[in-house]
């Protein structure tokens, strides 16, 4: 199958593989240890999937904001994203 039209790069492929692995891990986690939705600081019911979604979406905005204020590289932004995701999983 020729996928050259999709203009793959090593970096983007790694990015997608990581997201795919995260989804697989989350699925296995959900099967092994089913969970109930809980209400966190946002006062809304969230499941682990919701928290993953919020982490990813928020991280995208954090990276864009980092690019806007400090420019590339965005390693600093990624560190912020990591702590943001931890906070989302802990408190939201």
């Amino acid at each position: 199958m020729d996928l050259s039209w999709m203009a793959w790069t090593k970096e983007t492929a790694t990015f997608f593989i990581l997201i795919f692995i995260t989804l697989v891990i989350m699925t296995i986690w959900a099967v092994k240890k089913p969970e109930m939705p809980r209400v966190g600081i946002l006062r809304i019911e969230t499941t682990r999937g919701d928290r993953l979604f919020l982490s990813l979406l928020g991280s995208a905005f954090i990276c864009i904001a980092w690019l806007g204020f400090f420019g590339a590289p965005i390693y600093g932004g990624l560190v912020v994203c990591f702590f943001y995701a931890l906070a989302v999983f802990r408190w939201v």
Binding site: S4, M6, A7, T9, T12, L57, I64, G71, A72, I74
Partner: protein, 290 residues
């Protein structure tokens, strides 16, 4: 009660999953791939990292389009929502005229976007259009092709004409679901018309109204065909909204890299707003169910 666990039903989701994969996920992955590369065509790409994102964040052009888009969406929502509620409140509740009004009001919704643009383009022309000709004969300066204000007014009125019906229909459905007993109780309490609206009709409509606002927000935020056919983004850049600007960049200039970065940021904003609306809607539903 013992629940049987049978996860085979998940396979029924497979066709939809495949459909979404091909229509949304794979194109989105391609756009992400494009956004970190530069190309001069011929399927030859070179890596540029996050340069395009940085360029687009600081680009005057994107800021201006975003500003215009935000202004259009705000104006449209501010007009269509109260106007739609007003019409829904004043529609006949039953009988021949109720059906008649519903059909007439639903008509604009059946017309495709580009046809709506064409209708209004002709309607506003000074030589053959009814609106343009009438305004010209009254001595009012109106030219949507050259005057910024005329172009904006035409686009806003066109959208109101096309989409207020959606809000009317949704609110009407919400109003119809209110039992008569509520109104009778209000009458006994001698509630004013405003109180009936504020404490009975509005709370009962809030669910459908939120859906209406979400739909109108998304549609107007992604508006393309109507202004493109009517003004083509002009005069100058005055009606170049986000999607028109994006298509100009991607297909007009063939700047696939910057256009991909642009569209990803556009997508993130739409995704965030949709999530907020969806969360608010589902939490209201849950509160209603308690």
């Amino acid at each position: 009660m013992n629940k049987t666990v049978n996860q085979k039903a998940w396979f029924l989701v497979l066709p939809v999953f495949l459909l979404v994969a091909f229509s949304a996920v794979i194109p989105l992955m391609t756009v992400i791939n494009y956004s970190v590369q530069d190309t001069f065509g011929n399927n030859v790409f070179s890596w540029v990292g996050l340069d395009w994102f940085e360029e687009i964040i600081h680009s005057q052009r994107m800021h201006e389009s975003l500003g215009r888009q935000a202004m259009l969406t705000t104006i449209i929502l501010l007009i269509e929502v109260p106007f739609g509620i007003f019409i829904a409140l004043n529609m006949p509740k039953k009988g021949f005229w109720a059906s008649f009004c519903l059909v007439v009001i639903a008509l604009p919704l059946l017309i495709p976007w580009n046809v709506v643009g064409t209708i209004w383009q002709i309607f506003g022309r000074k030589d053959i259009g009814l609106l343009g000709h009438t305004l010209a004969s009254m001595g009012i300066e109106y030219n949507y092709a050259q005057d910024v204000l005329s172009a904006w007014i035409t686009i806003v009125v066109m959208d109101v004409w096309h989409w207020t019906s959606l809000i009317v229909l949704l609110c009407y459905a919400g109003l119809q679901s209110i039992p008569d007993a509520y109104y009778q109780a209000a009458k006994i309490d001698q509630a004013s018309r405003w109180s009936v609206f504020r404490y009975i009709e509005l709370p009962k409509m809030s669910g459908v109204l939120l859906i209406a606002i979400l739909l109108r927000f998304m549609d107007s935020f992604m508006i393309y065909s109507e202004p493109f056919v009517l003004t083509g983004g002009g005069p100058g850049n005055s009606t170049t909204f986000l999607s028109i600007d994006l298509v100009n960049m991607a297909l007009g200039q063939f700047d696939l890299g910057p256009a991909s970065a642009y569209s990803l940021m556009y997508f993130l904003v739409v995704l965030l707003v949709s999530w907020v609306f969806f969360t608010v809607m589902t939490s209201i539903d849950k509160k209603g169910a308690v």
